[in-house]
Structure formats: C-alpha cells, structure tokens
C-alpha cells in the first residue's frame, strides 16, 4: 500500500485555555506504515492515551493533521467518523468494554449489525473459534474470565477486518498466560491479515512484540526503536523516567 495506516503531522492537543492550558501533545509527527505494529510508551502523563485518541478520531486535535487509512480526519464530521469506526478501525482496551447484556457472539456481530451488514452465524462462530472461544459463543461477558473477555473484544475487532486496530493496554488486566494468548492473536492480525496496530502499553515485554516502539515524554516524541528487544525497551524507558 502506498499510504501509511496512520499519520500524525505536527499534531498539538491543548487542554484548557490556549495560553494557560497544558499541551498533552506538542508537535507530534508520526507515521505507522500499513501492516505494521507500533507500540507507544512513556511515563504517566506523557500523552500516550491522548495520542491514541487523536489518531483514532475520538478527540479533536488543536493544530496539525491526522490521516487515517489515507483519509484526512482532522475535521471530519461525526457521520464520517462513525462510518470509519464501523469499517476502518477497531478498538481493544484494558477494561474490555463488551456490552454486558449481549452474549459473546452477539458482541462480535454487533459492529456489523450497526453497519447494516448481516453477519452469518458461521462467520461469527469462525472468528470466535480463531480466538479459541468457539464453545463460549452464548456466554455473557460476566460469565467469562478476563482473558476470555479480551479475546471476545479482539474477535469483535477482527470481524470487520479493520485497517487499523487501536489497543490501549490490551494485556493490562490479564494474567501472564492470557496476556501471551492475546499478544499472539494481535501478532496474527498483523502478519496474517496485513492489518496495522497502534498500541499503548506500560509493559516492555509487550512492547517488544511490536515492529517499532515510539517513546513519548511531555507530549513530544523522545525516542524510537525499530525491531526492539525487551531489554532495550526497558532501558530506554528507565532513562526517560529518571
């Protein structure tokens, strides 16, 4: 593909009044090529989550431009952003964010339903099967463990084959075994289906699974590592925080 999956150009995000407020992002430029996995790291308050929200069109940038899957969404109206959430982007979060009143398979089929597309039961079961939950299709979220809930959330993000998946601490609430399973699933999405992932994490071991790690400090990009190892990531992070 010729264009990056996500591109931020000189993005600034202010909170509060222009002259007294805080810049959560301060002139950030970043391009994540299609079919890659980028991890975003940094100390608390460095602007990681704001970057993710701005890149996904959940928050408006104060200045600069955001291009998502080849489309400039900087000032896109709500209808366009809604349409993109249905077809182009997906989300996976630390707290799973499943709809409590729907079963696992209904949760997975939900985004397609909102888009007016009829998802066949076979497709839905297939996706659930690929995350290892074929036998949990009719369970409600509260009947599933944390790891299982997160896998349902990933299945939901997979079904519409989004170009970009945004993940915020996807393994933050999971035990180490479940975390490993979830990371494997994310890796398959990038390698197998050519989708892109932008992921915020605190965990150097998780970040090391990505193709590149971007370090943020005080709203600016402080460093970048390609093909990182856990040690390298931990090292850089320690240096940033000291």
């Amino acid at each position: 593909m010729s264009f990056p999956a996500v591109e931020l150009r000189q993005v600034t995000r202010f909170y509060g009044a222009r002259n007294t407020g805080v810049a959560a992002l301060d002139g950030v430029s970043l391009a994540c090529p299609a079919g890659t996995w980028t991890a975003v790291m940094g100390p608390s308050g460095s602007g990681k989550s704001t970057l993710l929200h701005c890149a996904a069109g959940l928050e408006q940038v104060t200045t600069g431009r955001v291009v998502l899957a080849g489309r400039d969404i900087t000032a896109a109206p709500d209808g366009v952003l809604t349409e993109m959430r249905r077809r182009t982007i997906g989300f996976v979060f630390q707290n799973f964010n499943l709809i409590g009143s729907l079963t696992a398979e209904q949760n997975v089929a939900f985004p397609l339903k909102l888009a007016g597309i009829r998802a066949s039961r076979k497709d839905v079961r297939g996706v659930l099967g690929s995350v290892g939950l074929a036998d949990r299709a009719t369970h409600r979220p509260r009947e599933l463990s944390g790891g299982q809930q997160q896998r349902v959330a990933i299945a939901r993000a997979m079904i519409s084959r989004p170009a970009v998946l945004f993940a915020d601490e996807p393994t933050g609430a999971l035990d180490s075994h479940s975390a490993k399973v979830v990371l494997e699933l994310l890796r398959d999405m990038v390698r197998g289906a050519g989708q892109s992932i932008v992921m915020v994490t605190h965990d150097p071991a998780v970040a090391a699974g990505a193709d590149a790690v971007v370090f943020l400090a005080d709203g600016r990009i402080a460093d970048r590592l390609d093909a990182p190892t856990t040690h390298q990531v931990a090292d850089r992070l320690a240096r940033l925080e000291s």
Binding site: L58, E59, T82, I99
Partner: protein, 635 residues
C-alpha cells in the same frame, strides 16, 4: 436495535421499574377517567325527580366530569414528568454503555432509536399493566365520586373497548414524550467516554436545561403577574399553571441550588463526606429533588388556591351586606321580622321554586330569590353593573351574579313559570360576578302568588337600629320563634366553610393522586441512585468507614436533598399564592391568602420519612456484598 432494547430492559429492569409503574398508573387513571367522563356525558337520570333534584344531579355530573378531566390531565403531566426525569437520570447512569455503542460504530441516530425503542417497550408494558389496574381505578374513582356527593349512588360507568386503544396510545405517547429529550442528550455522548474508568458525569446544566429552566421560570413569573389582573377563574387556572410550570422550572434549575446547600451544610459539618457527596452527585440530587418539588408545589399550590378563594369568598360575602344579623327561616315567618323591636330593615330573600328561561338558554330552576327591592338595596352593598334595583317592581327581573357571564341584556324579556302560572319578566339590571357563585336571578316578591314564597327557605339580612345592641335584637328574634339568628361574620364564615368543603373533596382526590405519583418517583430515584452506587459505597468501606457509617452517610445525603426539594416546592407554591392573592385583592380590595400549614407539615414529615427509609434500605442492600468483591469486579 429492538432486541438490544429488549435485553437492556430485562437486564436493568430496576432502572425502568419506576418509569413502568408511572406509565401504568397514568394509563390506568386516564382510562378510568375516560370511562367515567364518557358516562357522565350521557347521564341517564331517572324519571319523576323534582326539577331541583334533577338540576342538582346534572350539576354533580358536570362537577364529576371536571374532576375526571383534571385527573386525566394531571396524571398525564405527572407520568411524562416522571418518565422524563427517570430517563434523564438513567441516561447518565448508562453513559459508558451508550458511549461504547458509539465506539463500536453506532451512529447518533442509532443511539436515539435505541432509547426510543426502549420507550415504546416501556409504553407497551406500562399500558398492558395499566389496563387491568384501570378497571380497579374506575371502581375506586366512581366510589369516591359517589362518596363525596358528586354522583348519585346508582351511577355506573360501563366498560368500553375504546378505552384499551386510548390506554395504548396514552401509554406509548407518554413514554415517547418523556424519553424524547433524554434521547437527544444520549445522542450527544461522545465515544471517548467509554474509555474513562468511571464515566465522566456530563455537564449537568446543559444549554437545553438552561433554556428550559429559564423559560419555565419566566413563564411562571409572567403567570404570577398576569394573575394579579385576572378574574378569579383566570387566577385559578394561573395557580394550577404556576404549580406545574414552576415545578418544571425549579426541577431543571435545582442543580444550581444543590451546591449552595452543600456549601451551607459545609459550614455546619466541615469536611463531611455527606457534603462532598452532595456536591459531587448534583444530577443524582436533582433527580431525587424534582418529584418532591412537584409534589409540594402541586399540593400546597392547589390547597392554598382553593383555601384562599373560599376565604376570600367569605370575606366578600361579609363586605357585600350592610347589616348585622342574618336570620334563617321560612318565608311566612320572616314576614314578622320588621315588627320586632330594634329591627331597622329586614331584607327577606326567599329561595323560590320557579322556572326562568332566557331565550334559547337552558331553563334555570334554582338560585332564584324573591325580594323586596327597596329593603334589598338598603342592606346590600353590591353595586349593579347596569340598571337600578329601584326599577325592580312589577313584572321585572334582575340578573344575579351567577348568570353574569350569560350576557343577558337589559330590556330582554324572560319567560317564567310559578306554580303553573306563566309570567313574562323584563330584565331591568344585573349584579356583578362574585367569588362565590351567588344567585341566578332576583325577582320582586309581589308578582308571585303567596304559596310560592311562604314555604320557601328564606335568609333575611337584618339591619339593626343604630342605638340598639345587635345581640339583644338577635335574642328578641329568637324568642319570637322566627328562626335561627347568626351574626353576619359567622354567616359568611359558615358559607365559606361550606364552599371550602366542596372544593376540599375534589382537592383530596387530586392530591391523593399527586402524592401517589410523587411517592413512586421519589422511591424510584432513591433506589436507582443507591443501587448504582454499590462500588462507591465499597470504596467508602475500604477507606475505613463501617457499614452503618456508610448507610448513615447515604441517609443524611438523601434527607438533605429532600429538604432542598421541599424548600423549592414551597417557593413555587408561594408564587402561586402570590398570584391568587393579587387577583383576590383586585376583585374585593383586600388580600386574603390561606396557607395550608397542616398539609405542609404532613407532606414535609411524610416525604422526609419516605426518603430516609428508602435510602436507608437501599444503602443497606447495596452494602451487603463484601466491599473487596465489588471493587475487584471489572464488568
């Protein structure tokens, strides 16, 4: 989307229980009122009743129809009010769920559709429950209307199939109207809010809330001002309007008052958790306070209005006669009054049983008095709007206060019939409208054959000679065996009391209804608020509070909110009374206002008790689980 609404409905039924009950009660009352109303519209009055009896029954039917109309209107208003405040509250409680819907690709329209389909479900379930309850309500209403004397005991309102259709339309309509504003609010929730751990409580005072609050407040003030210049019917309508619109204004603006109260309370209890919770849960507080505001403003507003009007009527009656004593007797006995020592003038007013028909209008059988015009003019202060009482001789008639609005002009000839004798009476003047209905027609006694007035119930207004003591004269009249004597003040007070009694009956029906609704709404919002605070209570407990301390905090907070609701409700009722006071002043020249203190005390104690007990029970049940299990759960 419909399936999701259905599931939400089943899963979170506690959130909707109150709204379903209010719709059901609204549907039941509207349906029952509809059936009674239709039945009073086609009265089947048995043959062979006297004309007065027939008239009395017909009047009762009109009164019952009015009460039923007011009941249906009030029930719908309250149901819409409660559904809308419940939904505004639940939308806030479900912010994260709705944001999640937006995050997974739901459009604003889909969020609206979700809420509106929930409301249709709510309306259907409410109607289904309301129809059978309505049958019971119909019996209860009929019994009540018979009991208070508006309807005869043989009255029956037959079942009508149309009532089911009415119920369904009302149920769904009420639910849709109530949810509409909330659905617009919900559609504005941003997807990002799904990602916040606790769900940011949205700005409580939104632009639309400001607009609604301020415009209702302006409307209330306008009605208070207008009532000052209005006639009494207008002022009564204004008082009802002020109670309702004022309640909406205070409810929407109550979030502004809550922080102020929290600040006041903070002076007494610095650093208290109650104060912090009050300040933090502004929306929760507003949801609890608004049904109380409606309750207090409606009950006190209506009771105060009716009470003030009755008191003013008594005052006006006292001022309208220029005499000291009133004697009740028969027409024949009253003829002996002028002969009693010390009596200067005795204006005998015989309530005669004759018929007067004015053109195409309905014949009048009651409220017709026969007088001696000269005596009447000397003892009454009411100035005719046109004509002269001295002209009331021969075949003439004066239009009484009760017929003022019929526009019967001077010179018009009315047909009358007394004991089978036909008469033609020329209108020579008319009296002004009074607070109390008063007489329909005044005729000269001399034109009637004696049997017509001799046995008629008679009220004689007696002016005592200046050098005489009225008490002594009263004693002489009683000793002469003429009739019962009372002072003008006592007579006016008794009249006001009789009038008040009739109004109080109607008022009791309406107040019971409003009270029932407000109770449901208060319990509903306290329960929702308490249940949704499980996690917060758990945090309190892991921070070192004991379970009783958490419960006490919740009760103290809910009680403070109830006090805010009561005070704001009193403010609205006060505005209503100011309006009626102004109107009374314009009508009779003095301000007469009746403040229903007993009712206020009962309502205040009752609602504080209900709020305290409900919040206590809810907090107890919300803290039953061990705190750690609540804090650890994710979904």
């Amino acid at each position: 989307m419909l399936r999701m609404s259905f599931r939400t409905f089943l899963e979170r039924w506690q959130l909707f229980a109150g709204a379903v009950l209010s719709v059901a009660a609204g549907v039941a009352l509207v349906q029952a009122s509809f059936m009674v109303l239709v039945a009073t519209g086609e009265p089947r009055i048995p043959e062979g009743l006297s004309r007065q009896e027939d008239d009395r029954i017909r009047e009762g039917f009109v009164g019952a129809a009015t009460v039923m109309g007011m009941t249906a209107f009030l029930a719908m208003f309250l149901a819409v009010f409660i559904v809308s405040s419940t939904f505004a509250f639940t939308v806030d409680q479900r912010r994260r769920d709705l944001a999640l819907l937006r995050l997974t690709g739901g459009s604003r329209g889909q969020v609206r559709v979700l809420l509106l389909s929930e409301s249709v479900l709510l309306g259907l379930v409410g109607s289904a429950l309301g129809v059978p309850i309505g049958l019971g309500a119909k019996h209860a209403q009929t019994w009540l209307l018979v009991e208070i004397g508006l309807l005869p005991d043989w009255f029956a309102a037959p079942w009508r199939w149309q009532a089911v259709a009415v119920a369904g339309v009302i149920g769904v309509g009420v639910a849709l109207t109530g949810v509409f504003a909330a659905s617009l609010r919900a559609a504005r929730i941003r997807p990002l809010e799904a990602l916040r751990e606790t769900g940011r409580a949205g700005r409580v005072m939104t632009t639309s809330r400001w607009l609604l609050g301020l415009s209702s407040a302006a409307c209330t003030v306008a009605m208070v001002v207008w009532a000052h210049g209005a006639n009494l019917i207008g002022a009564m309508l204004a008082a009802l309007g002020i109670s309702m619109v004022g309640a909406v204004a205070m409810s929407t603006l109550s979030p502004l008052v809550v922080p102020f109260t929290a600040w006041l309370l903070g002076l007494l209890l610095p650093g208290s958790l109650v104060v912090a919770s009050l300040r933090d849960g502004v929306r929760r507080s507003a949801a609890t306070a608004s049904p109380l505001i409606v309750l207090v403003s409606l009950l006190l507003g209506l009771a105060g209005t009716f009470g003030s009007l009755a008191a003013a009527g008594g005052e006006e009656a006292k001022r309208s006669v220029n005499a000291q004593l009133v004697v009740t007797s028969t027409g024949a006995r009253a003829e002996r009054l002028p002969g009693i020592e010390g009596v200067a003038v005795a204006s005998r007013q015989n309530a005669v049983d004759i018929t007067i028909t004015a053109g195409e209008r309905r014949s009048v059988y009651s409220g017709i008095i026969a007088v001696d015009a000269a005596d009447y003019a000397r003892t009454h202060a009411l100035v005719p709007t046109h004509g002269d009482l001295n002209a009331l001789t021969g075949d003439t008639v004066f239009v009484g206060p009760a017929q003022h609005s019929e526009w019967i002009r001077a010179g018009e000839v009315l047909t009358a019939e007394a004991e089978g004798i036909p008469l033609s009476l020329t209108v020579v003047g008319g009296l002004p409208e009074t607070l109390e209905p008063g007489e329909n027609f005044v005729v000269p006694r001399r034109i009637l054959p004696p049997p017509v007035w001799e046995n008629a119930p008679t009220e004689s207004v007696v002016q005592v000679e200046t050098e005489q003591n009225p008490d002594v004269v009263a004693e002489r009249i009683e000793r002469a065996g003429i009739g019962e004597v009372s002072t003008v003040a006592d007579w006016a007070e008794a009249r006001a009391g009789r009038n008040q009694a009739g109004n109080m009956k109607i008022l009791t029906v309406l107040m019971g209804l409003a009270g029932l609704y407000a109770l449901m709404a208060v319990v509903n919002s306290v329960v929702i608020a308490g249940t949704e605070r499980r996690r917060e209570f758990a945090v309190f407990r892991v921070s070192g509070l004991s379970r009783p301390q958490v419960v006490r905090t919740a009760v103290a907070e809910a009680t403070s909110v109830a006090v805010i609701g009561l005070v704001l409700g009193c403010a609205v009722a006060g505005a209503g009374l100011a309006g009626i006071g102004g109107s009374v002043r314009a009508a009779i020249g003095v301000t007469v206002v009746h403040v229903p203190w007993t009712l206020l005390a009962v309502v205040a104690t009752g609602s504080l008790a209900v709020v305290a007990v409900t919040s206590g029970i809810t907090a107890l049940s919300a803290t039953r689980q061990r705190p750690v299990s609540l804090i650890a759960t994710k979904e």
